[in-house]
């Protein structure tokens, strides 16, 4: 096991590194399963006839659907802590995601630091994620904060 300081020092060597790009065809069935899991019954995501009469002219994916495209960093375990918790997520969308889009997600490690929290020492790792479409245009940007704790 590494100390928090050792893990932070090791992790900081990876800041700026980028993981592999993952591409996914956005399928209506995947959108349906996602909103069913949320319990979100908004027909905008599942009913083509309803969605056709909206501003979008067809089905769109719900806001956080892009999280279904995994964008790992492939960095080694830093040897600190026994559980990883999600500290936060942030998204900026530039256009809605639609069925048939081919979205590519890629993460970059942007920050590694350590803090002493009320629940003990925490290793904080922040990833920035870019989501681009089949034309190479930026669709959304995300930030994901991972917390590693003892």
């Amino acid at each position: 096991m590494a100390t928090l300081e050792e893990a932070v020092a090791e992790g900081q060597r990876y800041v700026g590194t980028t993981g592999p790009a993952h591409s996914r065809v956005i399928e209506p069935g995947a959108i349906r399963r996602f909103v069913e899991a949320l319990g979100d019954t908004n027909p905008l995501y599942t009913d083509p006839e309803y969605a056709r009469r909206t501003r979008w002219g067809g089905i769109i994916a719900p806001p956080t659907f892009l999280c279904t495209i995994q964008a790992p960093l492939n960095m080694p375990d830093l040897g600190f802590g026994r559980v990883t918790l999600n500290g936060g997520n942030s998204y900026d969308w530039y256009r809605p995601v639609r069925p048939g889009d081919v979205i590519t997600a890629q993460s970059t490690l942007v920050e590694v630091r350590g803090v002493q929290s009320s629940s003990g020492p925490l290793l904080i790792m922040v990833r920035a994620i870019r989501y681009t479409d089949q034309d190479g245009r930026l669709v959304a940007e995300g930030r994901s904060t991972g917390l590693r704790r003892e």
Binding site: A37, W56, P62, T64, C67, Q70, V83, L85, N86, Y91
Partner: protein, 146 residues
């Protein structure tokens, strides 16, 4: 549908109440591809120092998205959501998603609607806010929405 001109700073969004179960966490794991065992495997979660299985942070963020899009209507465009998870939440307890309008920025174009900034959060039935967030949603005026 909601029109930009109807909205005022301080307006509260209708509360969205969820009743998460472990079954739902399994369903969300499958739908999202996040199969981390702390969300459905009790012995695993306990060995990791947790009191039991816990809700996915992104499930709570997804509910915040539902809260905002449901309120704003199908022709609104959710431009930004951020969520900070300040505590763990467990299945078997109701979870409430709430929000209020904090600022309005009208579009320069006549009848062009505008951008609404929201404070959004998730809380348990005791009022403990375990998820803190913000959202920005673009609304057009109803007259242009058809």
């Amino acid at each position: 549908m909601l029109s930009f001109s109807q909205i005022k700073v301080g307006d509260e969004l209708p509360t969205l109440t969820k009743h998460p179960t472990t079954r739902q966490l399994v369903q969300y794991a499958g739908a999202s591809g996040d199969f981390y065992e702390i969300h459905y495997d009790k012995p695993f979660a306990e060995a990791a120092g947790l009191p039991g299985v816990i809700l996915h942070g992104l499930l709570k963020a997804g509910w915040l998205g539902e809260l905002v899009q449901t309120w704003a209507g199908p022709s609104a465009f959710v431009r930004h959501i951020e969520a900070s998870y300040r505590g763990i939440d467990r299945p078997g307890q109701p979870y409430l998603l709430r929000g209020k309008v904090v600022s309005l920025e009208a579009s320069a174009a006549p009848g062009g609607g505008g951008l609404v900034e929201l404070e959004i959060w998730g809380e348990d039935q005791t009022g403990r806010r375990s998820t803190l967030g913000k959202a920005k949603v673009e609304l057009i005026d109803a007259i242009n929405a058809a």
